[in-house]
């Protein structure tokens, strides 16, 4: 059994789909934070079989929940203060995501004007459909 010590202040991202932790690490720009980050891959989970967990020891406002909600709104976010969980944040699909994903449509204006912000808009919450704000092309993983 691998043991990772608890954290004093920060957050624990739990119930990450197995294999997704490195993407989240990069998308949340955790590599740029000067703090302790623990990535646990393929942890046993009753609910999911296997899951990833990320523990980050840093002020909680450093986390962009919109990006996390877009990546997977089923992730559990536990906020830790003074060694205890003080809050479990519920993630939602953000209405818009900025500069997280890029439009792959070669006919989109963003393909030739690189300084434009990459903006995707939630157009169908039920089916979790995001479309490019400019050309309305559906985002596919």
């Amino acid at each position: 059994m691998l043991n990772i010590s608890g954290i004093h202040e920060g957050f624990v991202l739990d119930h990450i789909q197995a294999g997704m932790s490195m993407r989240i690490y990069h998308d949340l720009k955790l590599d740029r934070l000067d703090c302790t980050v623990a990535i646990i891959k393929n942890a046993k989970s009753n609910k999911m079989g296997k899951k990833d967990i990320i523990k980050v020891e840093c002020p909680v406002d450093a986390l962009d929940l919109d990006i996390l909600g877009f990546i997977d709104h089923r992730i559990t976010v536990n906020v830790i203060k003074d060694d205890v969980i003080v809050e479990k944040k519920i993630l939602h699909l953000p209405k818009e995501v900025h500069n997280v994903i890029t439009c792959k449509n070669p006919r989109c204006i963003t393909s030739i004007e690189q300084e434009l912000e990459q903006i995707f808009v939630l157009t169908d919450e039920k089916h979790e459909v995001y479309r490019c704000k400019y050309c309305e092309t559906k985002y596919k993983n």
């Binding site: 449509n105 006919r107 989109c108 204006i109 963003t110 393909s111 030739i112 004007e113 300084e115 434009l116 169908d124 490019c132 704000k133 400019y134 050309c135 309305e136 092309t137 559906k138």
Partner: protein, 307 residues
């Protein structure tokens, strides 16, 4: 400030107002002859388009305004690498309203975000062409007296034809609309139109391959051209291009008051002999395109003409 990016930017009520205004312009053109005196329309066309550009320019000239602009990316600062955002900021200093056509999808939206003047999307790649849809709606409204309770046949390239997709999206907002989608297997409407638009809104529709089987029941037949530029190989284009040819023999199967529309230019899909049939209204449709653009310019500039 209002812009027009998609036909759906206008509510059904606003659309009705616009169509009524266009109808009044048709009946009393003299009333509007000086409505835009001192105003300038910039036509920023990054790709060639004779029909749409001239229609916009005719519309502004009919309103007593003037026009300026460029007709291809080569003759604009885009050739020097200027962004759409920068170009529109500069154009905003020269003109009061702008119509923009660009080969890239979403370019008009980018322009509208930085513009100091109303922007009209005059076509952004295969994405939107709202003034064509307004033209189609005005033609239907004026010649049928309504946009509701109609059986509409869409025939030809239903896969790549943006005018078809736009028209479907605009018409489903009216009650009693039914579609007959006539196309070869390879050029059927994209699945998102079928599921996200038609099925999601409970719009009755059927898909057919033979125009002869469909034409007898229709109130409107909207013909489209198979566009060479949409095909990756010439062989497929050649096989598809003459799949449908509307001629007098097929017109004989249609109702006496059915109307034939076409966004033009046509190639072979409507035989020349059909032009003399009173139900062929595609050239009238081009005239309506000027009226609806006049109405749109007045609306976006907030100019009211007393009756």
């Amino acid at each position: 400030m209002r812009h027009l990016m998609s036909p759906l930017d206008l509510s059904v009520e606003e659309l009705d107002e616009l169509l009524k205004l266009a109808g009044d312009i048709e009946k009393h053109p003299e009333k509007y002859a000086h409505a835009c005196e001192g105003k300038k329309l910039a036509t920023c066309f990054y790709e060639p388009s004779t029909r749409t550009r001239l229609s916009f320019e005719a519309a502004m000239l009919n309103l007593g305004g003037s026009v300026l602009g460029f007709h291809s990316a080569d003759s604009s600062s885009a050739a020097k690498g200027e962004s759409v955002s920068d170009t529109i900021r500069v154009i905003s200093c020269y003109a009061d309203i702008c119509a923009i056509r660009h080969p890239k999808e979403g370019a008009a939206l980018v322009a509208s975000q930085k513009s100091g003047i109303p922007v009209i999307n005059a076509g952004d790649g295969g994405h939107q062409h709202p003034t064509q849809t307004l033209t189609d709606l005005l033609t239907i409204y004026n010649l049928k007296g309504r946009c509701d309770h109609l059986k509409i046949g869409l025939c030809g390239d239903l896969k790549f034809g943006r005018t078809v997709h736009s028209l479907i999206n605009a018409l489903i907002r009216y009650p009693g609309i039914e579609f007959v989608l006539v196309s070869p297997e390879e050029l059927r409407v994209p699945s998102y139109i079928r599921t996200d638009v038609l099925e999601a809104n409970d719009i009755p529709f059927c898909e057919m391959e033979k125009l002869e089987d469909a034409i007898g029941d229709l109130d409107i037949l909207y013909m489209t051209r198979v566009q060479r530029e949409r095909f990756f190989n010439e062989e497929d284009y050649v096989r598809m291009k003459d799949f449908y040819i509307l001629d007098n023999k097929k017109m004989a199967l249609a109702k006496e008051d059915m109307l034939v529309l076409h966004p033009l230019p046509r190639v072979n899909e409507i035989a020349i002999e059909v032009d003399d049939d009173p139900r062929a209204v595609y050239f009238k449709q081009a005239q309506y395109g000027v009226y609806v653009r006049m109405a749109l310019i007045l609306t976006l500039l907030g100019i009211k003409v007393d009756s």
